[in-house]
C-alpha cells in the first residue's frame, strides 16, 4: 500500500492506495499516529485509490478517530469506492464517520 499526505488549509489530507487490510493496517496506523503526534487535529483520509478495506482497516479508522476526538480534533473520509462503501454500510461505520464524495466537499467547512 502507498501512503501519501499533504496539508490543505490546516487539514492533513492522507491518501491510501491499494488495500487497507491486516497486512497494511500497522503501516497506516503509524502514518496517522505520526501526524497526530506532530500536532495535527484535523485529518481527511482520501480513499479514492483504495481497492478494499478489511476489519483491520476499520480498526485503524476507529482508533484514529478516538485519538483525534480526544484532542479536540476530527476525522473525515472521502472517495469511497463501491466495495469500501458497502463495508462501511454493513459495519455501521457510515453512521459514525463523516463521509464525503470528494476531497473538495470534505474540506469545505472542516
Amino acid at each position: 500500500m502507498k501512503i501519501s499526505h499533504d496539508e490543505q488549509d490546516g487539514v492533513a489530507v492522507v491518501r491510501f492506495e491499494g488495500n487497507l487490510d491486516t497486512n497494511t493496517a500497522p503501516e497506516a496506523q503509524e502514518a496517522l499516529d505520526d501526524l497526530i503526534g506532530a500536532g495535527t487535529v484535523k485529518v481527511l483520509v482520501d480513499f479514492s485509490d483504495l481497492d478494499y478495506i478489511s476489519s483491520a482497516g476499520l480498526r485503524v479508522l476507529l482508533a484514529t478517530a478516538k485519538k483525534l476526538r480526544g484532542g479536540g480534533g476530527n476525522l473525515r473520509l472521502c472517495g469511497l469506492n463501491e466495495t469500501v462503501a458497502e463495508v462501511f454500510e454493513i459495519s455501521g461505520f457510515s453512521t459514525i464517520f463523516a463521509v464525503f464524495p470528494s476531497e473538495a466537499e470534505a474540506l469545505e467547512g472542516f
Binding site: 488495500n19 491486516t22 497486512n23 454493513i90 459495519s91 459514525i96
Partner: protein, 146 residues
Amino acid sequence: METTFVLEVPNDLRAIERAVDLVVGRCQTCESQARRFRLNFRVALAEALANAMLYGNGSDPHKRVRVDVTVNDAEVSARVTDQGAGFDPDAVEDPTTPENLMRPGGRGLFLMRQLLDEVRFNDRGNSVTLILRLEESASFDEAASA
C-alpha cells in the same frame, strides 16, 4: 461440473493477498455473480485467512492455514482451516449495536456473514466455510419455500 483445489498457506499475513488472488483467479467461471465474487468473496476470504493466522494459529510462523475451494454451477465455497484449538463463533457480539459500535473488535466475522450467502463453522471452531451462491434461482427457491 465441479472443480476443487487446495491451498496450503504459510502463517504469514503477507501471504493473504496472494492466496486470495490465486483463489479468485482460478474461479473465473463464476460469471453470474461476478461482482459479488470479485468483491465480497475476496474481502470475506481475506478476513477468514487473517482470523485463522492471528487468532487460530496465534501468529505462529510454523503453522499453516489450509484452504479447500470448491466451485460448481450452484456455488463457490472456501473452507479455511487453521491448526488452533478453535473458538465459539456464537460468543462474538454484534459490532453494530450502539454499545459495540465504537469497540475495535468483532467486525471480521460480522463482515464475512454479511458479505456472503452462508458462513458456517465446524464443531471445534477452527474451520470456517464461506459460501457464495451462483445461481440466482437458488436464493429465490429458498425464499419461496421458507
